[in-house]
């Protein structure tokens, strides 16, 4: 085998000259949540601008950051998408490689808790979601001390065990797997958010943040939560077939399948386009992309691409991204980010 590796090496050597050529195509990497929007803009941009259609890769937010921050030069991507903000560690890594960037927020993505059209309506609060999904919950039978409740293994089997107003149905939640950004956001916004109903948890957050994170963000493993895989279409058909099951996924899938499934009310707010855009619906997050300054001007079309992305025609209230399920930012923020894109405002953390 070694001999052939040798031969292969020679072959690669020959083909190496190929890589030195200039690139005339924008390279985008990053989040699979932003992927449908980024690709739509890329396609429109390729149709109308005269530049080559950018190549968009779906690598996940973390994977995208890693590639993006690896360095400056045509072998590295120009833009990375993220369904969360860049982490401080990633930013530092970028800085050490001399990368300056601009941060653009493109809109919101709502995470919905949905079930079959044929099932009873679920009127949930974040507290209900927390109690239904966390591995350890405060013991309901022991009165809480001012600053401590004994966490016990999640005892809730039926929704009605959590609250009498909820249906008398077994808890069965289909959710995204740990590799998914949707799951990260759900854990942060819905589960940790729901734990805020307990004062002692808020106190714990201040005193021991890592324990607080562990308690509020660990999903139960007793079978009530089922990792349903990355394919949300599959989840929709599973929900339609099983009226007792509840699913957790992005808003655009609810929007496309309104004849089969319905979104649950959370904290009294329905997951509708208007409610997510207005910020009333609590489980929603911002979607980002980051542009590498050093590549603007080197790879043709980057400035034009980000200006197309931040145009009203794309991410505005009636833009084509809205048809794809993006929930737009308020007008003021849109104007601000359009300006940032134009002036390439440097991100500082």
């Amino acid at each position: 085998m070694t001999k052939f590796k040798f031969a292969l090496g020679a072959l690669i050597g020959v083909s190496m000259s190929v890589s030195a050529q200039a690139r005339d195509q924008i390279e985008v990497v990053g989040s699979s949540t932003v992927f449908p929007f980024s690709t739509t803009v890329a396609e429109q941009f390729g149709r109308s601008s005269g530049f080559k259609t950018p190549v968009v890769e779906s690598t996940g937010s973390g994977g995208g950051m890693k590639l993006f921050c690896a360095g400056i030069g045509l072998e590295h991507p120009d833009i990375t998408n993220a369904s969360r903000r860049i982490k401080e560690k990633e930013f530092k890594n970028c800085q050490t490689n001399g990368i300056d960037m601009t941060e653009i927020v493109i809109g919101f993505d709502g995470i919905v808790v949905a079930n079959s059209k044929n099932a009873a309506d679920l009127k949930l609060t974040l507290e209900h979601i927390y109690l239904a999904t966390a591995k350890k919950v405060p013991d309901p039978n022991k009165p809480c001390q001012a600053n401590w409740c004994e966490p016990i293994d999640n005892p809730y089997v039926k929704w009605s065990d959590i609250d009498a107003s909820l249906p008398n149905v077994k808890i069965e939640i289909l959710g995204p797997p740990p590799t998914s950004g949707t799951r990260d956001a759900f854990q942060e916004l819905a589960m940790s958010g729901g734990s805020k109903a307990y004062p002692h948890m808020n106190a714990l957050k201040k005193s021991d943040k890592s324990l607080w994170k562990k308690l509020t963000r660990t999903v139960r493993e007793d079978g009530a939560w089922i990792d349903a895989g990355e394919n949300d279409n599959l989840m929709v058909s599973k929900l339609a077939a099983n009226p007792d099951a509840v699913g957790v996924f992005g808003y655009s899938f609810l929007d496309q399948n309104a004849d089969k499934i319905k979104g649950s009310v959370v904290n009294g707010v329905e997951p509708t386009f208007e409610n997510i855009a207005g910020g009333d619906y609590k489980i929603s997050r911002s979607l980002y992309f980051y542009v590498k300054h050093a590549h603007v001007g080197t790879v043709p079309g980057i400035a034009e691409f980000i200006s197309a992305f931040t145009s009203e025609r794309a991410y505005g209230e009636e833009g084509y991204l809205v048809d794809k399920g993006l929930i737009p930012l308020p007008k003021k923020l849109r104007d601000q980010y359009r300006q940032d894109a134009k002036t390439l405002k440097k991100l500082a953390m």
């Binding site: 085998m1 070694t2 001999k3 052939f4 031969a7 292969l8 072959l11 690669i12 050597g13 083909s15 190496m16 190929v18 890589s19 050529q21 195509q25 390279e27 990497v29 699979s32 992927f35 449908p36 980024s38 690709t39 739509t40 890329a42 396609e43 390729g46 149709r47 080559k52 259609t53 190549v55 968009v56 890769e57 779906s58 072998e75 059209k117 990355e230 394919n231 949300d232 279409n233 992005g250 655009s252 899938f253 929007d255 496309q256 399948n257 309104a258 004849d259 009636e318 048809d323 794809k324 399920g325």
Partner: protein, 435 residues
């Protein structure tokens, strides 16, 4: 039953014998039944899978179009001519022409919001259809022409019955008003169902009705070409050397064990290797069929080596001895006699290896071939994706119409594999006859 003869007429023995015989027959029948039910179950599952895939894919092979009278205003068209005065390119606001035609069909629609909804009846590919028509015949400029324009994916689903018109409006992707517009067009017999040429003529798109497999097919072909060019010669050379020439010692034994192990390594590992070696170290371009082909070649090598060695070993030693006997050198024995005889087996191994590689996505994920690429790749260094990756990406899209597109992609991939396999079997048979 060894002791027949004298006891032949002993009735008790005979009865026992008959019973044993019956039992043996019963056992055989049972075994047969088990075997047959195993085969039936396997084919049944396969048939179920195939029917369900083919059935879901059917809607993707046709698309509904709307025939509209579009006026091409001569003053608004730029015509580019070459030296001979022949038209090389036409440019105009085709979208504007289409929208005007739509508005003219419904003069009562005036508000901005309503017009926006009206425009949504047609696909974003509609202006391209007008452009293509004018490009093909520049004499149409200045006339009102009938053009077949693709409808948007949701309207198409309504026409195919995949969106139920009887549902309440809030549960439907298509509003009552859009249905009313559509019904008027249907009554005027302007809506027709045609073969979805886009599925094969276009690259990827975020609009289901415009999304096609051309780019992915081309990418798969280029990738497979690189894989074949690297893995076939290397694999066969390695196998011939190991089987026919290499001394049998500890080192070759270790190599042999390693090759066998390599065949069982999960494919994602080869992707990681490709990322680390080809892209990070040798700086080859990401998302390129060149790198994809090299990674898949590494994956295919052990399969080819093992198959080649097996078929070399099955060539009878008498052939070698006879050739040696008439004075052939070792190389002549191999090149003139052993290798040609083993070729059918070698080809089978290569085909199996390549078919496996053609359906692989995991290693390509690491080297950037799971990407949204609209342009069709032209050479091994341009950005490309492959068929299975394209299918995976379509499966993840939220738009309804991609469900059928995904199945259609699978059908095309399977036909592609069948075609390649069929071709290979044909060549193998021809090869065999010559000998």
């Amino acid at each position: 039953m060894t002791d027949r003869g004298p006891q032949k007429n002993d009735p008790i023995r005979a009865a026992r014998q008959a019973q044993r015989l019956k039992k043996r027959y019963r056992k055989e029948r049972r075994f047969r039944a088990f075997g047959m039910s195993a085969v039936l179950l396997a084919t049944g599952i396969l048939a179920f899978l195939m029917t369900s895939i083919v059935y879901t894919s059917i809607p993707a092979f046709t698309h509904h179009n709307l025939t509209l009278d579009v006026t091409i205003i001569a003053e608004e068209v730029d015509i580019l001519r070459d030296d001979q005065g022949l038209v090389t390119n036409v440019d105009a606001n085709w979208l504007g022409f289409v929208r005007t035609a739509l508005r003219d069909s419904f003069p009562e629609v005036t508000s901005r919001r309503d017009k926006r909804d009206l425009y949504k009846l047609l696909s974003i590919g509609a202006p391209d259809a007008v452009r293509d028509a004018v490009q093909a015949d520049p004499n149409l400029i200045g006339q009102t022409i009938q053009v077949r324009l693709p409808l948007s994916d949701d309207i198409d689903l309504v026409m195919k019955g995949l969106i139920d018109r009887n549902l309440p409006e809030t549960d439907r992707l298509v509003s009552d008003r859009e249905l009313a517009w559509l019904d008027k067009f249907i009554a005027e017999q302007r809506v027709s169902e045609n073969f979805a040429i886009q599925l094969f003529a276009n690259g990827d798109s975020r609009e289901p009705e415009m999304a096609g497999l051309k780019g992915a097919l081309m990418g798969s072909l280029l990738t497979m070409l690189v894989t074949l060019l690297i893995s076939f010669p290397l694999g066969v050379l390695a196998a011939v050397y190991l089987q026919e020439m290499a001394p049998k010692n500890r080192l070759t034994q270790i190599i042999e064990v390693n090759i066998n192990n390599l065949a069982a390594v999960p494919s994602i590992v080869f992707g990681l290797l490709g990322l680390a070696v080809f892209i990070s170290f040798f700086q080859l371009p990401r998302s390129a069929p060149l790198v994809g082909g090299m990674v898949l070649a590494l994956m295919t090598l052990p399969t080819i080596i093992i198959a080649t060695r097996a078929s070399l070993a099955s060539v009878p030693p008498s052939i070698r001895q006879a050739a040696m006997g008439v004075g052939a050198s070792r190389l002549q024995v191999i090149m003139h006699h052993v290798l040609p005889l083993a070729m059918p087996g070698i080809l089978t191994g290569t085909i199996i290896g390549l078919a496996q590689a053609a359906g692989e996505t995991a290693p390509l994920l690491m080297i950037g071939m799971m990407a949204f690429i609209v342009d069709t790749p032209t050479d091994v260094t341009s950005k490309a994706t492959v068929l299975p990756a394209q299918i995976y990406m379509w499966a993840n899209n939220p738009e309804r119409a991609f469900v059928a597109r995904t199945s259609a992609g699978i059908v095309v991939l399977l036909s592609f594999l069948l075609l390649v396999n069929g071709l290979a079997i044909y060549f193998r048979k021809r090869f065999e006859k010559r000998w």
